[in-house]
Amino acid sequence: MLKRQAQLSVYIGTLKLKNPVMVASGTFGYAEEFKDYMDLKKLGAIVTKTVTLKPRQGNPVPRTCETPAGMLNSIGLENPGIDVFIDKKLPFFKKIGVPIIVSIASEASAEEFIALAERLDGIQEVSGLELNISCPNLKDAKSGRGSHALIAQDAQATQRLVKMVRKVTKKVLITKLSPNVTSITDIAEAAEDAGSDALSLINTLTALCIDVKSRRPKIATITAGLSGPAIRPVAVRMVWEVYKRVKIPLIGMGGITDTESALEFFIAGASAISVGTGNFLNPKVSTEIIGGITQYLEKNNIRSIKKLTGSLLCQR
């Protein structure tokens, strides 16, 4: 008997992805960096490094350090600004031919988010926007020190912002949530109510590493964002909680380094996944995961990846 190939395609809002494997903002550069290692066309979608209205030089070094099964980063959203992004970086993305999701942020104001969304709304090759309201590495506007209050830590602020951006863009709108909250489901519902088409979760966990010899922080900005397998169980738990409360699709991420870790997210409730820090360990792991998911589905006679989403069996 001829076996039908497992269906990998999924929808994120109105956007159809040929497979549910994406790469996470800030961990895939501007895609060019990976072209020697893999066929970029195979990816379900690519999320760009977060871009801001004006260029940002980012934080001082050291910006990264290794931790048990993970790493800290405090890049501080270094990026060339939207104009240079559109001029110099977007043309390469356009050539790849997979959906491009542009991650946008502002340290200053909602108006900047709107200006960014308006600029990008007119560009046909941009398939969607991801609102990065959860970057832990920006300075507090008042104190000038690390860890400022995130929009993603406040349900009302999240709702206001998503609503405002929703008004100015027809692109697929994704809101990226922070794990640094008491109740991620409240924020998730706020974003859904305000018209977000999907949610990305999770961004990094605020963390601190100390060099005991010098008694100094290992990262220049003192605190930084923890990523990698160390945060995976937290991320999977949050996807599961949010899945039970919202209807819009979830893009799960946090410590995915192979097929098995990707599958956990689908079972918990994700419709798609993003590979982040895993790209640094093996630059072609995202394409390996696409193959691995197909194999898993076929081996278990699951027709479509959609059937796996939220299929966690809770009874013992």
Binding site: E33, F34, Q57, P62, T64, E78, S214, P283
Partner: protein, 273 residues
Amino acid sequence: MHLEKATLLYNKPLGKNYFRLACNAAKIANDAVPGQFVSVKINNTHEPFLRRPFGIHKVDGCRIEILYEAVGEGTRLLSKNKQGSFLDILGPLGNGYDYRYALIRHKTPVLVAGGMGVAPLFFLAEKLVRSLGRKVRHSPRVLLGAKSKNQILCEKEFKKIGCSVTIATDNGSAGFKGKVTDLLKQTLSTLDCPLSTALYACGPRPMLAEVSRISRKHGIFTQVSLEEHMACGIGACLGCVVKTKDGYKRVCKEGPVFNSEEIVWEKHTKGGR
């Protein structure tokens, strides 16, 4: 750039904490230029988590060599890898030295190594010697600096390929007593025309800052190879930046080799040795 499963040919101790590792990595060997580096996944667990960067020390046909010091958990585990095992290795990465400058402008290359900084400079010396052919007048001069005599690496190898070698040790147990940068000052002062040289340096950040200060006085073309903590090694994470006159640049992509006058030398708390 390639991702290779390289067969480990040997991983030999060189004195106390130093190791010379060779592996078969044909594609990387074929594309590598001096000053570039490779990024090694020490094992297939998450401990240690990230890849580790090492300068390419030597290329010989399909094989590449690295020279490293066991300084922490990752390098200590690396030193345990046995002949015949596989090494997950990414490279060649970064830009490499502009060795053609010395050749085209008929400059005498002066290679300044501080400690483990000697690693990528041997590949450079070989390339220069080979490209120079019989123009021995311009054969490379190598200044090797270390804390003491038994930390001097590759002296014989440099001499064997026709480089002149002078040594500086902090404690005077071999050669000039003092810093390799003091040796550099002395060497330049004995030359009729310091401008007839081109400097290529690798070593700890403070040493490179000093090399840069010395060469600027003479107006000598100088390239330095920098180290910075790396997460991806391929330009994607923006973690490894260094401050230059044109803003931050990625050590793993626009570097690790920079023209010394490009760098904004600041007090550096971490990275480099």
